[in-house]
Amino acid sequence: MSDSVTTAGAGVDLQLINVTKRFGDFTAVDDLTLTIPQGSFFALLGPSGCGKTTTLRMVAGLEEPTDGTIKLGAEDITWAKPYRRPVNTVFQSYALFPHLDIFENVAFGLRRRGQKDVKKQVDDILELVELGGLARRKPPQLSGGQQQRVALARALINRPKVLLLDEPLGALDLKLRRQMQLELKRIQLEVGITFVHVTHDQEEAMTMADTIAVMNVGRVEQMGAPTDLYENPSTTFAANFLGQSNFFNGRVMQRGTDAQVQVGDRTLRMDGSRIHSAGDDVHLGVRPEKLRIAFGADAEMPTGFNRLEGVVTDASFIGVSTQYLVRVPWGQEVIVFEQNTNRDSRVDNGAPVTIAWDPLHAFALDASQDVAAGADLDDEAAPAAVAQ
Amino acid sequence: MSGGALLAESLAEKAPQSLKTTGPGRRKLTPYLLLLPGLLWLAVFFVAPTISLAQNSLQQGNLIDGFQFTFHIANYTAALSSYWPQFLRSFVYAGLATIFCIMIGYPLAYTIAFRAGRWKNAMLVLVIAPFFTSFLIRTLAWQTILADNSIVVSIMRSLHITNLLAVVGLTQSTRVLNTPLAVVAGLTYNFLPFMTLPLYAALDRMDPRLIEAGQDLYCSPWTAFRKITWPLSLPGVVAGTLLTFIPAAGDYINSRLLGVPNQAMIGEVIDLKYFSELDYPTASALSFTLLIAILILVSLYVRRAGTEELV
């Protein structure tokens, strides 16, 4: 067997260097550069059609890049055949072999590599994905979730250096999905395989991944640890794609640790390291759950917080929290999420309120971007993924 | 067993979604190497004869003195002016047989696809099995069934169906055998599986929930059929029509065994010119005219039906 087919070793990072993929004159992946460290759990997040699957396929060797280099450790695998790469894929549509039973599907890779004790390995992995009893069924006789787990087992059993997962949990119900997420994470930590996980579910990405890359039209918008990405997004697309934000049009008056941004007739304070704009015109962003709300125009707030007075125009109870819409002095409506710990019953439609936030929680983005970029994409993406 | 079904699917098939774009060097040659033997066979034994047919049809002469290519268009005008009734009859009979095939094959295909449940495979077998008995033997059986003193004809006579059909010229008042009706019935019978199987393939591919969705959206069963089932089965209808009409138009076994002696179909005339009169130029002209006429009809029909993915 080729010696490139070995189990995971040490220090083999997956690198994509200036990778571009064009279909005709349509650019699906645009000059992508990424380094995915050995053993990490990397999530690719982005709206439908942004090039996630294409990226994975190039890593798997099922698509040839138009341009650029893909390296695994020191080895250039850009042009290697798919069956010569220590990389396995869990396909978006499972791609289980319909004429082989579950056992033979899972054993397929092992048999190709002439491995011994196939039976034991397959039994073990089927046990792991809780399909022990179904080994002799054919794929069409399984439910969607079961098929998905077979696809996972079929790839995992090969202990590749990199496992590519293209929305592997899409067809599972919520409970099984959470269970499989934990299972996946556990397996990943146990075997130390690099996982590249494509998903539409931002919650899934944030709970599982060490690093998230947010993709948009063939490019990586932003990459980083889940908390960084959420707390300190650098583009409106990233901010909107992961959660919700309030944006105020403003102008940077002062930079540095105690930066100041002029919004309307107010001067709001923030951390200068969170200004992601060379120009002074910015969108000042604050996440709705970072805002505090209290009854009365002169309600008491912690010192040093930015404050705005306003009127509640809508209050809706959504279980764990209440969502308010507050009209601030310059007419804009601001979304506020308030935990339902001690809900103030006076804060209701028409009530005068004060909202406030810690300057450390604000971020400022280049105002030349569309404020709404990526805002609704996530909702559209979900059904599109199902349709595939 | 689903040969016809698969055939129908492929006739209605779309261009393949993902094709290997051939790379440099040897791989570029692969498709041509795969094609070579098959296409060579067709080139020598189908294309070349067709071309020489076209050439023969413009020749002049006789068997004894030999034939010369003189671009003798008169072969065509002569052939058409004397044999246009046979052409017309062939197309009318083939058209009628095709319509009857749809009328008989559709309920059959529909029932197998949607109503047969676990009897689906058994019913498919029943539909195909009769057609493994030789074409000619079955046609001879029809001779017996439609003979003057047979039960079927007696019933038709006592119900005055024969009289009724005689009015439109399909039968004689007392006879069925050796009438146009017998020919059309024979054609319908013999080409029925070529209609039923493509229809079945198209219907079977259809999600039965679509009909339910239609009825949920206020379609009566008939409207649901017209607006949902029928349009979705059109590829099958088109494929079935071609597979029925084309061979039926060229057939002459049914008209010879079941039809009126002096009311031949065009195939019989061609046969006669070749084997009895040895008039090759006229026979070729007739053959070529039939081919062209069918190609024109097919392309008009296919355009009308909006399915140009056939080829």
Partner: protein, 285 residues
């Protein structure tokens, strides 16, 4: 469902009580299956006749009137001179034509289904043309070619012709199967360390095989049953359909019906055995 809409309940009430409307309603509800049943009857009518008359002992040369029951024809199927040799010839030609056309056609189908190349649509058209050409045209033009090349008509020319018209049917049947194949299955195999050759034999070929088998059955039945093209290109050779044709003109012995009935029964048995074994396999899994 717990809540019943008024229309539903009235409908149910009417079906339950209104006896007079019953049969008509039933017929209306089952009109399509009834039509299908009638169609099946129509299809089997000649088969009954073929089987019944194989047990006939005709008076004259024509087996078209029922005279009396006899198993004579079944006991002496080859008593009619020329029939069994024709049958043997037809079976042989059918087998050879099937093997050759399936091989050539499958290659073409893979080229069309798997590669994009210059001349692809022309090839598709060339494959379609024989199916759009009436048999009498193909038969006569091929005869003209053989005459021109001074090729003696016989078994060889029949074979050539049969392979030619079976080829297109094989190509479309196999191509449909290839087109229905999910390309991701092959990609998955490659991803799981199968090289091109292994992928072909482990994944592609087994998945395309049912199409090839269907194509073979179709080719065999087309070749075995062909009359018109064969008639033009047979010379003095007598295949089974040509024998029957001659018989239709000079006298039909009941042995012909024996062959027809046997072919029907054999195909029925083959198909049923195939069905049962495949559903048995499915159940076992």
């Amino acid at each position: 469902m717990a809540v019943q809409t008024p229309t539903q309940s009235t409908k149910i009430a009417r079906v339950g009580s209104a006896r007079p409307g019953g049969p008509i309603r039933w017929i209306r509800a089952h009109i399509v299956p009834l039509g299908a049943g009638a169609a099946l009857l129509y299809m089997f009518l000649p088969i009954f006749v073929v089987v019944a008359f194989s047990f006939n002992r005709p008076n004259g040369r024509y087996n078209d009137k029922w005279v009396r029951f006899s198993t004579n024809a079944w006991q002496h199927p080859c008593a009619v001179s020329g029939m069994c040799s024709g049958l043997k010839l037809s079976l042989t030609i059918g087998l050879i034509a099937t093997v050759v056309s399936v091989i050539l056609g499958t290659l073409v189908a893979f080229a069309l289904g798997r590669y994009r190349f210059r001349g692809r649509s022309a090839t598709n058209l060339l494959i379609f043309m024989p199916m759009a050409t009436p048999e009498v045209v193909m038969g006569s033009s091929l005869l003209a070619l053989f005459v021109m090349l001074r090729v003696q008509s016989g078994t060889m020319t029949i074979l050539i012709a049969h392979i030619m018209f079976c080829l297109s049917f094989v190509v479309v049947t196999v191509k449909a199967r290839i087109a229905a194949l999910d390309p991701r299955l092959e990609q998955a195999a490659m991803d799981l360390y199968a090289n091109e050759r292994v992928t072909f034999w482990k994944i592609t070929f087994p998945l395309v095989l049912p199409g090839i088998v269907a194509a073979a059955l179709l080719a065999f039945s087309l070749s075995f049953d062909d009359f018109i093209i064969t008639y033009f290109n047979s010379g003095a050779t007598v295949t089974f359909p040509i024998f029957v044709w001659g018989a239709a003109n000079h006298g039909t012995p009941p042995q012909i019906n024996v062959v027809g009935a046997t072919m029907f029964l054999v195909s029925l048995v083959v198909v049923i055995v195939g069905q049962v074994s495949s559903s048995r396999r499915r159940k076992k899994a």
